[in-house]
Amino acid sequence: MIDLDTELPAIAAGDADAFARFVAGAETRVRESLASFAVAIDVEAIVQECLLRVWQVAPRVEPDGRSNSLLRFTIRVARNLAVSETRRRRSDSDLTTKLEHQLADDASEPAVPDPLLREVIARCREQLPEKPAQALAARLDGPWRADTEIAATLGMRANTFLQNFGRARRLLAQCLGKHGIDVAKELA
């Protein structure tokens, strides 16, 4: 099993590359830990907020003797942020109480990269029609730009850009399926 705590000393010393390696292994687990909050919070915003906070407090995080203590700490930060935002913004107290009592997954393990998947995705991307391929590439190349800005760069209206992006991911999912890679139904 991968132990992301090997990155902790470097992260604590301010090494952003080490934090990048930690995030590569941790993000999926952090995001999945917030799945039950999805109707009450913008999960994407909370994940980003959480990762920024963890970077700030990492020098004070002490390993607890078990592997992946920083990952478990990060999941706790994410869930605390989610509970706090749910309380602040939601009038549905039953939902808030239910979410508060759900325990964080204490046995979280990092995600492991799959080199085969990378190869197949690259082949599938080559088969995309021009406009969907452009939309996909543009979002991947410039996530710091708003969709409206990306759309303007591509000479598309925002809705057309989103439709092309949606088409790209559906075609990608179909292609991956043909290669025996079962991507989740959410992409299709």
Binding site: R31, D42, E44, E49
Partner: protein
């Protein structure tokens, strides 16, 4: 709201781009506010799968979320 309009809101919410407020906090996606519970759940599930694919495509295993966060960290 038509299905097409809802799909566009889901697609927009599932993207990683978020504005940063002057106090440094991450603003929620404008499209998220216009979605019903079903749309919000679908957007979050879609984002999870997209981030996995993005990470798989990236040589360093980083999703667009990760690259955004790291760009903000490196910018100080």
């Amino acid at each position: 709201m038509t299905d097409q309009e809802k799909d566009a809101l889901i697609e927009a919410t599932a993207g990683a781009h978020r504005e940063v407020a002057p106090d440094g906090t991450i603003r929620w996606a404008p499209a998220w506010w216009d979605l019903d519970d079903d749309g919000r759940a679908k957007a979050a599930a879609l984002a999870t799968q997209l981030r996995k694919l993005e990470a798989a495509m990236d040589p360093d295993g980083l999703s667009t979320t990760a690259r955004l966060v790291l760009a903000r960290i490196r910018a100080g």
